[in-house]
C-alpha cells in the first residue's frame, strides 16, 4: 500500500475513534446539568445517583476524547501538511478559536465540576457544570464550521493556489453549517439517550430495582423518542442541502448512475463501479425522486455526470457511501421503533414494569448511536472525495511525504491501542453498571454539597 492510502486509513481510524467520545460528551454535559439541576430542585436522591453514575462515564469519555483529539491535531502536520499550507488561512483561525474558546473552558472547569463539589459553593459547581457543557458545544460548533467549510467553501479567494479569507461571516455561516451542526448535535443527543436507556436496562436486567434506574430508563427513552423525529427531519433538510451543493455525494448515496426523472429508491443493491451499474436491486419506484425533489418526475443527479472526458472519476467511491447511508438510516429507524414502543410501554405499564425482551433489546442498542454517527460521517466524508476541500484542494495533493512503512508502523500501533481502549471503555462502563447494581457505588445519604434542604419524607 502507498503512503496516500495508508495516511487516509490512519486519519480515518483516528477520527473514527475520536468522534465516538465527543458524541457522548457533547450531550452528556447538558444531561448532567439537567440531573444536577433536578436534584437541586427536588432533593430526590435518584437524580444525584444518576448524576454520580454518569459523571464517571463523562470523565472517562472526556479523557478519551482529549487524548485522541491531540493525536488528530498533530496528524495535520505529520501526514497532511498540504492541508494547512493551502487552506491554513481559513482553517487556522477556526481551529485557534476552538482551542481558545472551548478547550480551555471545558478542561479547567471539568476539574472543578469533577472534584470541586465540596470545595466551592453550589452555585459555582452548577456554573462549572454549565461551562463544561457549554465548552463541549462550542468545540462542536467551531470544528463543524471548519468541516462544513471544507464541504461548501465560500468567503475566500485564491492567490497563487493559496486560500485567503475575504469574508469571515460567509466562512463561518457557510451553506451546510446549520444542517451539519444540527444533525451532529441531535446525533449526540440520541447517542446519549440510547446509552442511558441501554445501561439502565442492563442494570434492571441484572436485578437493580432502584428508583434511579426507572428514572434513567424513562429519561433515556423519552429523550430518544422526542429527538428521533427531529433528527429525521434534520437529516432530510441536510440531504436537500447536499443535493444543492454536492450532487455527486447524493448520487452515490442513492446509487444512481444516470441523471433523470422517476429515480427509484434503492432499499438494497450491490453497486459495481467497474461496470457502472447495480446488482440485485430492491427498489421502490420513484422513491428517490419523491424524497429529493418531492415529485415523482423530479430529476435526480447521476454518477455518470461526474466522469471527465478522459475517464477521470470525479465522484466518491460509491459502495461505502451507499452502504454507510443505509446503515445510518436503518439504525435511525430502529431507534424510532424502540423509543416509541418504549414510551408506549411506559405510558401503559410504567417504567418499573418494562418486559424483559424489551429491556434486552434496549441493552443491545446502548451503543446504537455510535453506529449511526460513524456511518453518517462515512457518508459525508467519503462522499466529499476526491476533494479534501470541495473544488479547492484534492485529498491527494495534501498528503505528506512520509515513507509508507513508517505510516504502516504508526497505523498498526494506533489500531492496536484503539481496539484495546475500546474494549476497556465498554468493559469499564459495564463494570460501573454492575457495581452500581450491587449497591457498591458510594452514594451518600445526605447531600453535603446541595443548596437545598432534603424534604422530610
Amino acid at each position: 500500500m502507498d503512503t496516500f492510502l495508508l495516511s487516509r486509513i490512519q486519519f480515518a481510524a483516528n477520527i473514527s475513534f475520536h468522534i465516538l467520545f465527543p458524541t457522548i460528551t457533547i450531550a452528556l454535559g447538558w444531561v448532567l446539568l439537567f440531573f444536577r439541576y433536578r436534584f437541586a430542585r427536588t432533593g430526590l436522591q435518584k437524580w444525584m445517583d444518576a448524576y454520580m453514575f454518569w459523571v464517571k462515564v463523562f470523565a472517562l469519555s472526556f479523557a478519551l476524547g482529549v487524548v485522541s483529539g491531540i493525536t488528530m491535531s498533530f496528524q495535520f502536520g505529520t501526514n497532511w501538511p498540504g492541508f494547512m499550507e493551502a487552506v491554513g488561512n481559513v482553517a487556522g483561525p477556526l481551529l485557534a478559536y476552538e482551542v481558545m474558546t472551548a478547550f480551555f473552558l471545558e478542561a479547567v472547569f471539568l476539574g472543578i465540576m469533577l472534584f470541586g463539589a465540596r470545595r466551592v459553593p453550589p452555585w459555582l459547581h452548577i456554573l462549572a457544570t454549565f461551562l463544561v457543557a457549554f465548552g463541549t458545544t462550542m468545540s462542536a460548533f467551531w470544528i463543524l464550521v471548519l468541516n462544513s467549510w471544507m464541504h461548501t467553501p465560500q468567503g475566500y479567494e485564491l492567490r497563487d493556489g493559496i486560500v485567503h479569507a475575504t469574508d469571515w461571516f460567509a466562512i463561518i455561516f457557510n451553506p451546510s453549517l446549520p444542517y451539519r451542526l444540527g444533525h451532529m448535535l441531535l446525533a449526540s443527543g440520541l447517542t446519549v439517550a440510547f446509552l442511558i436507556a441501554g445501561i439502565a436496562a442492563f442494570r434492571r436486567l441484572i436485578g437493580d430495582r432502584t428508583e434511579t434506574v426507572s428514572t434513567q430508563l424513562r429519561f433515556g427513552l423519552i429523550l430518544g423518542a422526542v429527538l428521533i423525529p427531529l433528527q429525521i427531519l434534520m437529516g432530510d433538510l441536510h440531504g436537500l442541502n447536499t443535493l444543492e451543493h454536492q450532487p455527486a455525494k447524493v448520487a452515490a448515496m442513492e446509487g444512481n448512475w444516470e441523471t433523470g426523472p422517476n429515480v427509484s429508491l434503492l432499499l438494497f443493491a450491490i453497486p459495481d463501479e467497474a461496470a457502472r451499474t447495480n446488482h440485485a436491486e430492491i427498489a421502490v419506484p420513484n422513491g428517490a425522486s419523491l424524497i429529493l425533489k418531492h415529485s415523482a418526475s423530479g430529476v435526480v443527479p447521476g454518477l455518470n455526470d461526474f466522469v471527465a472526458e478522459d475517464g477521470t472519476v470525479m465522484h466518491p467511491p460509491v459502495a461505502p457511501v451507499f452502504w454507510g447511508f443505509r446503515v445510518m438510516v436503518g439504525t435511525g429507524m430502529a431507534m424510532l421503533a424502540l423509543s416509541w414502543l418504549g414510551v408506549l410501554l411506559i405510558w401503559r405499564r410504567g417504567a418499573d414494569a418494562l418486559p424483559r425482551p424489551f429491556l434486552m433489546v434496549t441493552t443491545g442498542m446502548a451503543f446504537s448511536g455510535w453506529l449511526a454517527t460513524l456511518a453518517g460521517w462515512y457518508v459525508t466524508e467519503i462522499g466529499r472525495q476526491p476533494w479534501l476541500v470541495t473544488g479547492v484542494l484534492t485529498t491527494e495533493a495534501a498528503v505528506g511525504d512520509v515513507a509508507a512503512p513508517m505510516v504502516m508502523a504508526t497505523l498498526m500501533a494506533y489500531i492496536a491501542i484503539y481496539l484495546a481502549l475500546m474494549i476497556a471503555y465498554i468493559g469499564v462502563i459495564l463494570h460501573l453498571a454492575r457495581r452500581a447494581a450491587d449497591g457498591k457505588s458510594p452514594t451518600r445519604e445526605e447531600p453535603r454539597d446541595a443548596p437545598i434542604s432534603v424534604p422530610a419524607e
Binding site: F74, G92, V108
Partner: protein
C-alpha cells in the same frame, strides 16, 4: 506599532513560546508525577494522582494551543518540523493517550486491573517525556537525522525525563506532607543532577552547532550582558541543592521552593533557547517571517487571543486557588 508582516510573526512567536513554556512547566509536573509512580507505594500513588487530578487536562491543553499556533501561524514550519519528527511525535502521542486514559481507568476499572493501569500511566509518562526530550535534542541539532544528532537527542531525552521527574517531585513536596513528602524530597535530591546535566548539555551544545548562535553569545558586549542567565541558573541549582538537604522543615516552610526553583530554571533555560534561535523557527533554515501565514488571518486570531487569553489565565488561577493546599483523597462528591 502597526500589525503587519514584520510585527505579527514576532507576536505569534511570543505567544507560541508562552504556550510551550506554560506547557513544559504545567504538564512537566504532572508528567513528573507519573514518572515517579514506580517509586511510590500504591496508597501514595492515589494521593499523587489526587494532587494533579483537577489540573492535568487543562495542562495538556497548552500543548494543543502551542501546536495550534505553530499550525496556524507558521504552516510551512509546522509541516517541516512534524514530518521530520514523525516517529518521536507518534511515540509521544501514544504516550499521551496511555497516560490520559490510565488516569481515568485506574480509578474506575475493577480493582484487580489497577496495577496494570498504574504501569500504563508510568509507561505513558515515560514515552511522552522521553520523546519530547528527544525532539528537543533533534530540534537543537537542526532536525537532521545523523548518528551524532541521534545520540545527542537520546541524551536530552534522558535529561528532560529526569528534569520532569524533578519538577514532579517538587510538586509532590508542595502538595503533600508526612512520609510521602519525605520520599519526594529524596526523589528531588536524585533528580537535581539530571536537571543540571540537561540544562548544561543543551546550553553547551547549542553554540557549537551553529556559528551564528556562538556569535550571539560570545561576542562583546553580549557575553557580559547575558552572563546573568547562566550565573542565575547555577546559583539556583546550588540553592536547590542546599534546600533539599534541609527539607522538609518544621511548619512546612519552604515546601514551595523546589517547585518554584525548578519552574524558574525552566523559564531561564527557555529564554536562553529563545535568544539563541530567534528569528529561526526551523533552525538555520526558515525564519518566523518566512514561515508566517497571511497577516489578515493572524490579525483575526490575535483579536480573539487578546480577549480570551486573559480569561483563560483568570479561570486557570481560579482552579488552582480552589484546589490550593495539600492534596487529599480525590472524590467526585
Amino acid at each position: 506599532m502597526t500589525l503587519d508582516a514584520t510585527t505579527l510573526p514576532v507576536i505569534f512567536a511570543a505567544l507560541m513560546g508562552l504556550s510551550i513554556l506554560l506547557y513544559v512547566i504545567l504538564d512537566g509536573f504532572d508528567l513528573g508525577v507519573g514518572l515517579l509512580f514506580p517509586f511510590a507505594a500504591p496508597a501514595e500513588r492515589d494521593r499523587m494522582i489526587a494532587s494533579i487530578g483537577p489540573f492535568w487536562d487543562a495542562n495538556e491543553t497548552w500543548l494543543v494551543l502551542a501546536i495550534g499556533i505553530l499550525l496556524v501561524a507558521f504552516p510551512t514550519a509546522h509541516g517541516t518540523i512534524l514530518t521530520a519528527l514523525y516517529l518521536p511525535v507518534a511515540i509521544m502521542l501514544i504516550g499521551l493517550i496511555l497516560r490520559g486514559v490510565a488516569f481515568e481507568f485506574r480509578a474506575k476499572a475493577p480493582l484487580a486491573h489497577k496495577p496494570s493501569w498504574d504501569r500504563a500511566f508510568f509507561a505513558g509518562s515515560l514515552m511522552t517525556s522521553a520523546s519530547q526530550g528527544f525532539m528537543l535534542g533533534m530540534y537543537v541539532m537542526g532536525l537532521e537525522w545523523t548518528v551524532f544528532h541521534v545520540v545527542f537527542a537520546v541524551l536530552t531525552a534522558g535529561a528532560l525525563t529526569v528534569a520532569f521527574s524533578f519538577i514532579g517531585a517538587g510538586w509532590v513536596i508542595l502538595k503533600t506532607d508526612g512520609a510521602l513528602q519525605l520520599k519526594a524530597v529524596a526523589w528531588a535530591r536524585g533528580g537535581i543532577w539530571g536537571m543540571a546535566l540537561g540544562l548544561g548539555a543543551v546550553s553547551l551544545a547549542t553554540p557549537f552547532v551553529s556559528a551564528r548562535i556562538f556569535e550571539r553569545w560570545f561576542s562583546f558586549p553580549e557575553v557580559v550582558l547575558l552572563a546573568p542567565l547562566p550565573l542565575m541558573s547555577l546559583a539556583l541549582i546550588v540553592l536547590l541543592w542546599v534546600a533539599l538537604r534541609h527539607l522538609p522543615t518544621k511548619g512546612d516552610h519552604f515546601a514551595w521552593f523546589p517547585f518554584a526553583g525548578a519552574t524558574t530554571l525552566m523559564v531561564l533555560g527557555f529564554f536562553g533557547m529563545g535568544y539563541s534561535f530567534y528569528p529561526y523557527i526551523v533552525p538555520e533554515q526558515l525564519t518566523i517571517y518566512e514561515a508566517a501565514s497571511s497577516p489578515e488571518s493572524l490579525k483575526i486570531i490575535l483579536f480573539g487571543a487578546l480577549f480570551v487569553l486573559p480569561m483563560i489565565i483568570g479561570y486557570t488561577v481560579l482552579s488552582y486557588t480552589v484546589f490550593r493546599g495539600k492534596a487529599t483523597s480525590l472524590s467526585y462528591d
